[in-house]
């Protein structure tokens, strides 16, 4: 007898399923996904996900502008027209989901597949080999396949400029640097920053620390704050972070260090990747922005115009691929004289008069 009640229950559940599912499928027809005439773009984010307020967020802005002409928060994009594309995204969450995510787009013959972050480079290499007719783009990684565009940035050049601004601002002649994961890419930020500071004042001391050696180093604000406080204890009064989410701990640390009676902060932090000046207004000297959004938008535009080319696409100061951010949150913090010097150095770097060491160059 009990068996039958169970069966009845099961049948009832199935019926319920049909009732629930029935009306739903009529309310929403097939969306623009199936429109084969449009360019299809798939983007696979890094483990951090598209809301990291930094690196992935910048890539998301780039593709979102290409799709709608609006940033994810609804504000219009300057200089970026909507390109009438179909955009799909995946946040893999675990390293294992990256390859299937890329293949999911490739199986459906997407026109362009974008991978965000250096960790995806070897995976993309595999997938791109299997799908030679699909175009790929990798941010921060390098591949030599003809159907892969490698979008790389001259982080050392941008870091040089913020190093100069830091050196013009410091009163203790001691600067701090906090890196996320101890990898060559982050050393590129560090050496550029050091050289920039030393270009202003060769006697400046730079204290550098790294949050860790694993992926979790990008996501440990507690440790970031600890390192920042210890650097402040050793006399550093401007700290540059290149540590993803962990860097936000340093923002807390300089806020905790407080202000002088006239309201000016005693210690400053320099943000990274996205413009983080307004995260803690008054405490953020500037941000070393890496315009991942520009690079990503440009590659989508290239595909739409049929001008896609593989190989290495370098974004330096000359293409506004990197730079320092000035806005209403930090304009009172940086001396006009410092900006003049930084602009002069920018000219010299783009013209080749100043060579900034690239820590990743072999």
């Amino acid at each position: 007898m009990r068996k039958y009640t169970l069966l009845t229950f099961l049948v009832a559940l199935c019926a319920l399923a049909l009732v629930l599912a029935g009306p739903a499928c009529t309310t929403k027809g097939s969306s623009s996904t199936d429109d084969k005439s449009k360019i299809h773009v798939g983007i696979v984010f890094d483990i951090g996900g598209k809301d990291d307020r930094s690196f992935n967020a910048a890539a998301w802005v780039g593709v979102k502008c290409a799709e709608t002409g609006k940033r994810p928060d609804g504000t219009p994009c300057e200089n970026k027209k909507p390109l009438d594309i179909v955009l799909r995204d995946v946040e893999p969450g675990t390293p294992n989901a990256i390859e299937p995510a890329m293949r999911a787009f490739a199986e459906r013959n997407y026109d362009l597949i974008i991978g965000v972050g250096f960790a995806q480079a070897p995976i993309m290499e595999q997938v791109a080999k299997d799908y030679p007719n699909i175009r790929f783009a990798i941010v921060d990684g390098v591949s030599e396949l003809p159907n892969v565009a490698s979008l790389v940035f001259k982080e050392h050049e941008g870091s040089f400029l913020v190093g100069m601004l830091a050196a013009k601002t410091t009163k203790s002649d001691t600067l701090g640097f906090i890196g996320g994961m101890d990898i060559p890419l982050i050393h590129r930020f560090e050496t550029g920053y050091e050289e920039g500071a030393h270009a202003v004042n060769p006697n400046i001391r730079i204290i550098q620390n790294y949050v860790g050696v694993t992926d979790s180093a990008w996501n440990n604000p507690g440790k970031g704050k600890e390192l920042a406080l210890s650097q402040i204890g050793k006399g550093a009064d401007v700290i540059f972070t290149a540590a993803g989410n962990s860097g936000l701990g340093a923002f807390d640390a300089v806020e905790q260090a407080g202000t002088t009676p006239d309201g000016r902060a005693t210690h400053f932090v320099i943000g990274v990747d996205s413009d983080q000046n307004c995260v803690k207004p008054g405490f953020v000297l500037t941000s070393m922005v890496k315009r991942v959004d520009n690079a990503v938008y440009q590659i989508v535009l290239d595909v739409v115009n049929g001008q896609f080319s593989g190989g290495i696409h370098v974004y330096g100061l000359d293409k506004d691929g990197v730079g320092y951010a000035m806005d209403q949150c930090n304009q009172k913090l940086v001396q006009p004289e410092a900006i003049q010097e930084a602009e002069a150095a920018k000219q010299k770097i783009t013209s080749g008069q100043i060579k900034v060491t690239d820590a990743m160059a072999k």
Partner: protein, 371 residues
Amino acid sequence: MKLLRQLIFPLIAVVAAFLVGAIFVLLIGDSPVETYRQLLGNAFSWPDGIGYTLFNATPLIFTGLAVAVAFRCGLLNIGAEGQLYVASFATAWVCILFGGVVVDVFGQPVNYSIVSLPAIILIPLGCLTAIVVGALWGAIPGFLKARFGSHEVINTIMMNFIAVALVSYFTQYHYKVPGDPILETAPVGAAAHIPRLGKFIPGLPERIPLNLAFILALIACALVYIFLWRTKWGYEIRATGANPTAAEYGGINVRKQIVLAMAVSGGLAGMVGINEVMGYRYRYYDGFSDNYGFTGIAVALLGRNHPVGVIFAAILFAILSRGGIFVDAFTEHVSKDLVQVLQGTIILFVAAEAIFRGPFGRFGLLKRSKV
């Protein structure tokens, strides 16, 4: 009829979970039909769907079996995650040490090995390493329980942290190729690569990582069945699980059974390393496990701690993990966290069965089965 009774509750749990999931999807604002088409429809396409689904299922079969064997002895092995990490790392270590010259990430030939063994010796050696190291790591909490009575749940959880930290330390400071931005070891020698099934099955491209480890997983299922139900040791393990006091009275050395069950469990979990290192990435990649050890608990629960059930449950969870990516990419609003909702609800309903009719209360499901 007996079989039907065995099947009905897991089936209800799955169907009910999909209904609950459908409500969530409706609330989020997508069509459940379209969402479930993305979730399930991509699992059965040939060759990518089926290939990737079975590939995803392979580690879950191993960990599901691992948890099931421990369950049968009345032990909850939460440590499969740690066991598979140390075993995978050890497998990579052995396969590098005896693998000969390899090409590193920069395309340069390098030699990290002391001697180059042929595939016919290296492959069995690599498999054996995975099993033995996993078994040793699993046997430690078993020994602690048998000797000192410390609870295996606490010990296995803590040993997970030790395992993850240990292998990540070794990878970072001793076995990473200098300059490689990714936290991974050098590649293993080509002799340690086990063939992908694409070599044998026409129409299945070799790029799909489904490999011989899947066949090994099926063999492991058969062996576990024979071990548990057709051998003296299996009988003693099940007797211990059913009632340790009675088993001891019956002349069974309960402490020995606890260590044995944990070692077998750890060895099965360790076999994930064969699939990962020798069949897929050909190196140890730090943080590779997508919570296989923990999903294994759910797989064992849904599969009713039976090898056949474990296969089906592992395939179901593999379908979900593949489908989650398609849901994330090709629906308007629903993210792949839907898969977590489904998995959670399935476990909830399966566990609820024990509340419905388990005579032993909360843990009825674990101990209810007849010896």
